[in-house]
Structure formats: C-alpha cells, structure tokens
Chain length 204, copies 2
Amino acid sequence: MNSIITISRQYGSGGRFIARKLAEKLGIPYYDNEIITMAAKESGYSEAIFEKAEQISTHSFLYSLSMFGSAEGLYGLPLADKVYLAQTEVIKKCANEGPCVIVGRCSDYVLNEYPNVLNFFIYSDEEHKVKRATQYYGLDPKKAAEELRKKDKKRANYYNYYTNQRWGDAENYHLSLNSDAVGIEAAVDIIALFVKSHDELNNK
Amino acid sequence: MNSIITISRQYGSGGRFIARKLAEKLGIPYYDNEIITMAAKESGYSEAIFEKAEQISTHSFLYSLSMFGSAEGLYGLPLADKVYLAQTEVIKKCANEGPCVIVGRCSDYVLNEYPNVLNFFIYSDEEHKVKRATQYYGLDPKKAAEELRKKDKKRANYYNYYTNQRWGDAENYHLSLNSDAVGIEAAVDIIALFVKSHDELNNK
C-alpha cells in the first residue's frame, strides 16, 4: 500500500472514527488534531493562538496573500493564514514520510500535487449526526442540530477560503459516502477496498 | 437485495457501463434510455419530440409549474416539462416493480420519497473521459474535451432545473466515486459491497 489518504468529514458523521479505524486496518499512521499540535510546536505559536486563528477573513486566501504576502514577506499575513501555512508544512512532512491517514485541515488540497494521494469525504444524515454529537461530544440535544450546522458551515468556509473549491463537491474527492447508509465498520471496509483496488490498478 | 439503485454519471465516465455491470452482478433489471422510449410510448409523444424536449427553460421547474401548471391543468406546460413528468411516471413504475438499476433522468430525485433507494454518482478525470468518448462514442479527439464539457453542462442544467439541487453535490448521493481511480470492474465491486452492507445494516 503506497497511498497517502486524506479524510474530510462533516461534524458528527463518524468520519474521524472511520479514519482512525482505516489507519489501524491498513497499519499506517493517523493524524488529526495532532497536526495542529505539531504545527504549533514547530512554528513557535502557542496552541491557544491556533484555536483562535480558525476565524478566517471574508476574502479568499489568495487575496490575503496578494495583499499582505508580498510587502513584508509573509509577516503581514493575518494570523489565521500564517497558521494555515504552518499546518500545510506539517501535512507535507507527514505525507513525505510515507503512507498515512490525515483528517481535515484541507489536506486534500494541500497535497494536490502529490501523485499518490486518495481523498475521501464522509457525511451523514442530520438525524444521525445529532445523535452522535449528543452521545459522544456532549452537545445539548435541543441545540445540537443548530450547533452542527454552525460547525459544518465553519468547516465549509474554512475549506472554501483556502482552496477556492467547494467543500462537499464530489469531484474534489476520489470517493464520498454517507456513513449512515452502511454503518461505520462497512464504511471502513468500502474505503479499504477502494484503496486496495487503486493500488492494484496502478501497480499492474 | 431489496434496493432500487440510481446512477448519475458524467459523460464519458464509464458510469452507464458500471450501471449495466452492476445490474448483471446483482441479477436485477437495468433501465437507461429505455425509460425515454417507454415513457414516449405510454404518453403518446413521438421519440423525436422527446429528444428535442431536452432543451429546458432558464427558469426552474417549480416556476414553470406555478406559471403554466395551474391554469389549464398541465396542458400549458412547456413540452420539456411534460416529457419530464411522463418520465417520472415511468421511473416510478420501474421502481414499483422491485429492485433495479436506473441511469440518469434525475431518478435519484424522482424517487426521493421511496425508502429503499440508493443513489450513486460516477465521475472521472477529463483525460480519461476524452479517451472514452473518442474510443466508444466516436467523438473527434480535437473537439472531445469541449464537447464533454458541453454535455456535462447540459446534464447539470437539466438536473438543477428539475430538482433545485446541485448536480455533483456529494450529499445528493449515498456514494460518489471517481471511476479512474479504481477502474470499471472495481467500481462495480465497491458499489456492490456498499449495496450489500446497506442491506445487512437494514435487515439486522
């Protein structure tokens, strides 16, 4: 198995759990929020700053780069964009070390020039997302649906801002699936079969 | 196996071929342009009219229904919309007869109130679509890329017009895949595994 696997997922879709199980099944490293921590350590920012930095501007990243990136190197960039750039370096380092599973952080886009990357998108019905978010993340059942929509809206904005692509567009990924239709275990098996088939096709 | 399967696909993605192979593998009926023919026969229009009727208006179908549908029954509707309605009846008839594979014609949307429907979307890289369209559909290699984009644009407009959804949005389907990443045979196996897993989950 020679692939770098990226997983994008809706909040409460079980996507992160699927990613971890997939990494176990394939016997390869798994990275999610660890990436943020690693990036924080390497770039010298504190983790608290990284959390705040998720507030992105309303322009696109390219606009931000063109406005602030040229005059003073990258030092004039908004904090969120500096953090993004630090993260991309970490994601590339992970990928350079060999096959692995990376969750979120626009990793599909960050690695789009790597030849051996497979990108997956996991989503789910609202009813099941609410159930998972209530059960595993302790969200208030009454507010869970609204909270979920906000979280996904934030993820979409973050993705669209940095990639100029649309989060959840099937064509951004090699495979997208609704985890509720088959359950977590089967979703892992289906993605693993996809990865295996891809490898066989490319090693013919 | 208890599922009605719909397949939406980009032109040249191999999606129709995958659909036929899937139907064979599962031992269930397969419908694509046959639907048009059947609809034509049942509604009394000629097939030539059906082909012309793919030219849809720039408004939405709901607008069209509200403008022309109420005053004189459905008789005031543009021809394309009458044909669409005739097709939806045929699609529902096919689905009512039991498990089957239906290709295109917004069948995912037409059957969205059926409980046992699984929707798939097949797409592909432009390079491979051009190759397939040149090889199997006889397109001029020089014009194939432009022709493909036009065909897909037409399919997207048709879908968006009748469904008020966005063609190629992952969430419209239960699974979407890039057929080039794994090849036709593996794509059939992956979808079949998805269908089997769905059935097992729902018959627990």
